[in-house]
Symmetry: C2
Subunit: 384 residues, 2 copies
């Protein structure tokens, strides 16, 4: 009776808390690794979603990496855990260089990214002062999403590349993130975004190489483009992170399937407003995050989709609204579905809009094994 065991185990947990389905996690990672290997490039998992050494060990090619991080706190934590090959994926601030070199002094190949002459001068000054030949990837803009130099802007690319090399930095290559792919939901448009990301990367790399500058690494990535890329000629590595857990937003994009989402928030029913057809649970936006990214998609999932303790969604039951520690469950507008009978004390599981945001509200994962029992607790970190 695995279902009964599942319920009994889940009922022992204090709510709200995070559940992570280990078999879904492993399947999501295996599928992505196979896909990226099939395209003939290396895989550098982004650890910003999981922030967990246990998850990193499943996702990375080896216990030493490679990996991508979004904060120096992550870099320090994963360095403590033995990871030796990381890129810090946020444009470097000059005041962070001392901390970068301190991590590197522990034997970690930690690379940084930048996209301006000002950052380049700060790196050169730091190298003059310390002698640490920090590896640098130049951030290139694939789609106008955020940061980066236009791949066609050879003058800026070469100016930065030469100044880095002259200043003693290790010019490691170029790095792009096709962030605008998040706004798409059509497979052919997603494949086109992936091809644009690839072509932009190759153009930037060729601009450096044709001027005699090194560009050993051509790094691209986002969960949607990693999922839909058909050809990665000229690329050396792909990065992706949120695919490991999946979430409702990525399901709306089409880059993960709803039934592959590995992360849920366990909550307890604490009340009803029967005249309004509301069920109140003890998971509010503090446990789910304030993320409402599905509001812009074809299907607005509120603050999340409500499932039974085994992980099956109730028809059209969503977290319609949330306060700090209260979630209001209701049937989606326009649906004729029936509100399930969930007495006070019932447990539900909530699929999150955005796994990166929901995960960050918690400090640990309760790991569900194949039978739905909690087999372990994996810590995770937050902060900077």
């Amino acid at each position: 009776m695995p279902m009964q065991n599942n319920h009994q185990m889940l009922e022992k947990l204090q709510t709200p808390c995070l559940l992570l389905d280990e078999s879904r996690l492993r399947a999501n990672i295996a599928r992505m690794k196979e896909r990226i290997a099939g395209l003939g490039v290396a895989f550098r998992p982004h650890l910003k979603t999981a922030k967990s050494l246990d998850v990193a060990h499943i996702a990375m090619a080896s216990p030493k990496g490679p990996a991508m991080v979004s904060t120096l706190r992550e870099a320090e934590y994963f360095a403590d855990g033995g990871v030796r090959d990381m890129i810090y994926g946020v444009g470097i601030a000059p005041a962070k260089l001392a901390r970068i070199s301190a991590i590197r002094a522990r034997g970690v190949d930690l690379a940084i990214i930048l996209d301006s002459a000002e950052q380049t001068e700060a790196v050169a000054a730091h190298i003059r002062a310390t002698g640490d030949p920090i590896p640098v990837l130049i951030e290139v803009d694939a789609d106008g999403h955020r940061s980066g130099i236009a791949p066609s802007d050879a003058a800026t690319l070469l100016g930065i590349g030469r100044r880095l090399t002259d200043g003693g930095a290790t010019l490691r290559g170029v790095l792009l993130h096709a962030g605008d792919s998040y706004s798409l939901n059509d497979p052919s448009a997603l494949a086109a975004a992936a091809e644009n990301e690839r072509a932009s990367a190759v153009m930037a790399a060729e601009n450096l190489r044709s001027a005699g500058l090194p560009c050993p690494v051509v790094s691209v990535g986002s969960t949607p483009t990693a999922r839909f890329a058909r050809d990665l000629t000229g690329v050396t590595e792909v990065r992706a992170g949120v695919f490991m857990f999946g979430d409702l937003f990525q399901a709306g994009v089409g880059s993960v399937a709803m039934e592959d989402i590995a992360l849920t928030v366990l909550a307890t029913v604490i009340g009803h407003q029967r005249a309004k057809r509301w069920i109140i649970v003890d998971a509010g936006w503090m446990a789910l995050s304030r993320d409402r990214s599905t509001a812009k998609q074809a299907v607005d999932q509120g603050y999340g989709v409500v499932c039974d303790p085994s992980g099956r969604p109730y028809p059209d039951l969503i977290v319609a609204d949330a306060n700090q520690e209260h979630g209001i469950l209701a049937i989606r507008g326009g649906s004729s579905a029936t509100l399930p009978n969930l007495p006070v004390g019932s447990r539900v599981r909530i699929l999150p809009n955005h796994a990166c945001a929901t995960g960050a509200q918690h400090d640990r994962y309760h790991i569900l094994d194949g039978g739905g029992s909690v087999s372990a607790v994996w810590p995770r970190i937050n902060g900077w």
Copy 2:
């Protein structure tokens, strides 16, 4: 030259991080305490925003309380710190009663709230098993916001009240939260919401008392109604929390002034997209939270209002968009303000939309003294 000292001190901090202006904090708290005392009732500060013993010691009438908490983790943390009078302000789940009694066994007068016969039976069963006469406040619904029994529903109130008393619980009184006041922004409407909250509380209390049941505590509260209440006859205590820090959402409601907001996120400029008039900083939604509550107000503040290191807002400069670790600063749409000159490495301070949500993304406050120097670091907790 206090301004120069300020800059020098802030430049030593790793970003992003939370800054808390101690003089604004103390002034906000002193003003609220004076207001509530002037209305002749007790003040029970809600600690869900700050989650800090240092802040609690400024806000509470004594080191022992009283105080309000939103999680049992808070109750345990503040009990560790010597607080002895708390209400856990989320409708009780049966599986949490053992933890409640464990905290109470340490000498803490920890009360719970509930609004259903099911919860009442669970409490009665728990008392039968443990002998712990848990104090209970019946949650009453002032405005249809979320949970609670209608104040006019005497039958339900009395049924629960009698069952609690018969079951050995300590019937402590009634508790309301006028959460719909958050959607208002007119002082007379806010005063009316406060009067409705008061009148609903008194009606519920009278329903209990007229049937011979005890109701020593009549507890109301929200930052907007605490700010605008004119008369609290019949009420014994007021609760409020977010007013201590203030935020852009409460400024939009009119319950705090923009210049009284005590909490900011310190960030560093890491890049520019000059053609788009964007400045990129290292505080994204992870540091600011995903809260976009001002989007529904008259003035949409994006992910926050950008200030210089001394705390003065730049004209019409907001965090127009945010990714996990990137904020995009831009001039508000429709404004003719000029983008300030903020080279890479510049520090800015960002006023948050929602102090409860932004605070929760961090594990400490960097305390700014009157001269703008960082005088201390105060830890805060998160989780359940």
